[in-house]
């Protein structure tokens, strides 16, 4: 790796991803830490951990079979369902919660766990699908001959499980940091509070930011405890499922069982994606007050008219963040993977920007950038771009690191022996070889930036984003307008991945 290039990337990561966290944590003193050790906080934290574990378990139970069925079997329409399976993670969880709360009477902790489990199952499904595809074809054929499908699955599950558990750790992290869904889902019936509520309330009640930051530390610790083993499992999953003389496995024939399997796939997609989307379509057409195509047309026209500038802002900021994150992710991810033990030791640092609550990261952004020398950046759209890039850079780094692990080191060695320098090797050899993962990592940063609200709301540029307008409209009960605008956001979030899938010759790799 080119040292100047790597140094520049490390400095950029430290500035965009770590510095906002460091300036906030520096404000915490001993008295602030003492205040967070109350029994009430511990009870909230325990409940939050249970919620995360429950959501991760649901994601595992649903995601592993889903990933297996759409990636490896002859379930009718499997390629289509595989693409559709990503939808739940693209929808804002609150939209899913609002849809289901309007249709069922299930409330409280169980409902919250179900919603967050279903919103995060695509993570497990994606990783499981890829792990099932990395099983060696000859090994599988031997298992099939020895004991049929059951024996093959028994042999493959230990190979797939590290990948699935890695994704489940991320599902856990997403679940424990969400406070909008638990709050909304327990609006009717007994209240079910989580620790993220405590953090939000602390920003209002604390006399100084130090104690508010301190209130976030237990959740940061819980997040770190989940992400640390995730990194280890990722490493194992990459090591165990690939051998040098690899042969891709064939499609498994399920016979009659492909119909019940299809029913399972459709049921999962129906609950997690089609129903919430269907409800948005219904509400955009007038909903309970009378659905009609004319109403729907009017809602979309109004959403486009009022939200056009906001959509343009969001798309610009999200694209800007992705464009910054991708080259940094490629350089850092490649270096992380190729530097062996040192890379493994430094990997937890990469996770810091996503391990802290969004509000803390956003205020850290103000503290870092709102100075005379950087005022022009702070006042402009750059601020939103830099904030998004810093916050979501870990996904780009990990994604490129995982793809680098799959790349035969001998290819790079050959280029080196032929006289290609480190920068040239990265641009001409590694970059093109990892194109699906590089594009995929940019796509993840783009999608998350489009959806981001909590951190962005604190900086001036975020006023013009589409999520800002969407959540303001929710306040006024403009269900048709909100639904139409939410569907437009979903369309723009889905579009890049859909275009790649339709027109690119190589499969998109969108997660680490």
């Amino acid at each position: 790796m080119s040292r100047p290039l790597l140094l520049a990337a490390v400095v950029a990561f430290a500035l965009l991803g770590l510095a906002p966290v460091v300036v906030m944590v520096a404000r915490v003193d001993g008295a602030d830490l003492h205040a967070i050790l109350a029994a009430r906080s511990a009870a909230l934290l325990g409940r939050t951990a249970l919620l995360g574990a429950g959501a991760a378990l649901i994601a595992l139970v649903v995601g592993i079979p889903f990933g297996f069925l759409v990636a490896r079997t002859d379930v009718p329409g499997a390629p289509l369902w595989r693409i559709a399976g990503v939808l739940p993670i693209l929808l804002p969880p609150l939209v899913v919660a609002m849809s289901w709360a309007g249709m069922t009477t299930l409330r409280g902790g169980l409902a919250t766990t179900l919603v967050l489990g279903l919103c995060t199952f695509p993570l497990v499904a994606l990783y499981s699908a890829r792990a099932f595809e990395r099983v060696d074809g000859r090994q599988e054929e031997a298992a099939l001959l020895a004991g049929g499908l059951r024996a093959a699955l028994r042999a493959e599950l230990p190979l797939v499980l590290p990948s699935a558990l890695f994704a489940a750790c991320f599902a856990f992290v997403l679940a424990i940091n969400d406070f909008a869904v638990p709050d909304y889902v327990s609006s009717i019936g007994p209240k079910w509070n989580v620790y993220a509520d405590e953090i939000f309330a602390s920003w209002r009640s604390s006399r100084d930011t130090g104690s508010a930051v301190a209130s976030a530390l237990p959740l940061v610790l819980l997040t770190a405890l989940a992400l640390w083993p995730a990194l280890e499992m990722r490493r194992r999953s990459l090591l165990t499922s690939f051998s040098g003389d690899f042969r891709a496995p064939g499609t498994l024939r399920l016979g009659f069982w492909r119909w019940p399997a299809l029913a399972f796939v459709l049921a999962v997609l129906g609950v997690a994606a089609f129903t919430p989307l269907g409800r948005l379509v219904w509400e955009s057409g007038g909903g309970a007050r009378g659905f009609s195509a004319a109403n729907m047309q009017a809602s979309f026209a109004r959403a486009l008219e009022l939200g056009r500038a906001n959509l343009a802002s969001s798309l610009t900021f999200a694209l800007g963040a992705a464009v910054i994150a991708v080259p940094l992710g490629l350089v850092l991810g490649h270096a992380l993977e190729r530097s062996g033990t040192l890379g493994r030791r430094l990997a937890p640092l990469v996770l810091i920007p996503i391990a802290v609550p969004a509000i803390l990261f956003g205020i850290g952004g103000i503290a870092l950038w709102n100075h005379a020398a950087t005022g022009a950046i702070y006042d402009s759209g750059w601020m939103a771009v830099l904030l998004f890039a810093g916050r979501f850079l870990p996904f780009a780094v990990l994604s490129c690191a995982a793809a680098t692990a799959m790349l035969d080191r001998r290819v790079e060695d050959s280029a080196r022996l032929a006289g290609a320098g480190p920068a040239r090797r990265l641009v001409r050899i590694v970059g093109p070889a990892l194109a699906p993962a590089v594009f995929g990592s940019g796509l993840v940063v783009f999608v998350l930036s489009m959806r981001e609200l909590d951190a962005a709301i604190l900086v001036p540029a975020a006023n013009s984003t589409v999520l800002f307008r969407l959540y303001n409209a929710v306040h006024f009960g403009r269900d048709d307008f909100v639904a139409a605008l939410a569907l437009l956001v979903v369309f723009f979030v889905v579009a890049p991945g859909l275009l790649w899938t339709l027109f690119a010759r190589r499969r998109l790799e969108i997660l680490p």
Partner: protein, 337 residues
């Protein structure tokens, strides 16, 4: 890589044009839907380049107030804070973050809505009302804030979690209006009933409005502007201004103030003079938010009640602002379990 560099250059060039130097920066937590048009009109009339930045309902005023505090310590950029309530503004004043300005437009605003030290001025208020679904309960059966705890309505009543927004201000004000013991009884009862589901504790006031409007709850606490949104949409709802014979109804005014560190103080004063005019109060009364003018002589539509239609809660807004943080910490102990 070339493919990546081309869009990156385009994006970066595009963003470079985003920063402009405005003549006035306004932070506004009154809903953008109601405030944006007024601010744009001021910009047209004054010829100033105005940059307005808004908060969202989910943030409950915390976003802008946090940003003001944070920026004050590094590079102040906000000139005017137009808040949709008073507690955060009073707190900012107590922290020394506001400058004094006695606007000539505020001379006829009642003293209850003005800071004696002229750090902020209140105008165009919202009332804390009980929104009632008239198909589920006759509005005349609901007269008091204590009706929320009547076993007859178990599981059919709602309020927002009082840790932010106007519900937080409301509960803080109750300590001053009812006294420590009665107020504590009220909030403790609410917290206890929320734990067993007898009282539905929801995300915000707009959510209470939606539950009641859709018949999922019979009645609950909300703001008069949220009630008006449901009324205008034709839902079977009524607003009860409770406790005419008791503690009364809390009025929460918009407040406007100039930051102590305002980089463009002269333009800020022009805006404050403009927004505090009676015509603006009349306009806010006619808008969808149906704000209640604090001046008795300002014309208002029939659906916007006058001061004779309810008993106003007697509380000192400054004291509410001074105590809101401490009360929020206490409410956190009660409601976050």
């Amino acid at each position: 890589m070339r493919l990546l560099l081309s869009p990156s250059l385009l994006v970066l060039l595009g963003l470079a044009g985003c920063a402009r130097n405005p003549d006035l920066v306004i932070y506004c937590s009154l809903d953008q839907e109601f405030s944006e048009e007024l601010i744009l009109r001021f910009a047209r009339e004054s010829g100033l380049e105005v940059r307005a930045e808004y908060d969202i309902e989910a943030n409950k005023n915390v976003g802008l107030a946090t940003r003001i505090r944070e920026e004050a310590g590094s590079r102040p950029r906000c000139d005017v804070f137009w808040s949709n309530e008073c507690a955060q503004v009073v707190a900012l004043g107590e922290e020394g973050l506001l400058q004094t300005y006695d606007s000539p437009s505020a001379r006829d605003i009642p003293a209850d809505f003005r800071d004696p030290e002229h750090r902020w001025t209140g105008f165009a208020a919202r009332a804390r009302v009980l929104i009632v679904n008239t198909q589920l309960v006759p509005p005349d059966q609901i007269v008091s804030m204590w009706d929320l705890f009547d076993p007859r309505w178990k599981g059919q009543v709602a309020m927002a979690r009082p840790l932010a927004g106007t519900t937080n201000t409301h509960m803080t004000a109750l300590y001053l209006a009812l006294g420590e013991k009665e107020a504590l009884r009220y909030v403790e009862t609410a917290a206890r009933l929320a734990q067993d589901g007898s009282l539905n504790l929801v995300t915000g006031n707009a959510h209470v409005m939606r539950l009641v409007r859709d018949g999922q709850a019979a009645f609950g606490w909300t703001d008069s502007d949220d009630f008006n949104v449901a009324r205008e949409a034709g839902f079977p709802v009524a607003a009860v201004y409770p406790d005419r014979d008791g503690v009364g109804t809390l009025l929460i005014p918009n407040t406007v103030c100039i930051l102590a560190s305002a980089p463009r103080a002269e333009a800020a004063r022009r805006f404050v003079d403009w927004i505090l005019r009676p015509e603006i109060e009349a306009e806010l009364a006619r808008s969808r938010s149906a704000q209640i003018p604090v001046r008795a002589n300002v014309p208002r539509p029939a659906h916007v009640v006058g001061p004779d239609a309810f008993r106003a809660m007697k509380v000192d807004g400054r004291e509410v602002g001074r105590t809101v943080r401490q009360r929020t910490a206490e409410l956190q102990e009660l409601f976050l379990k």
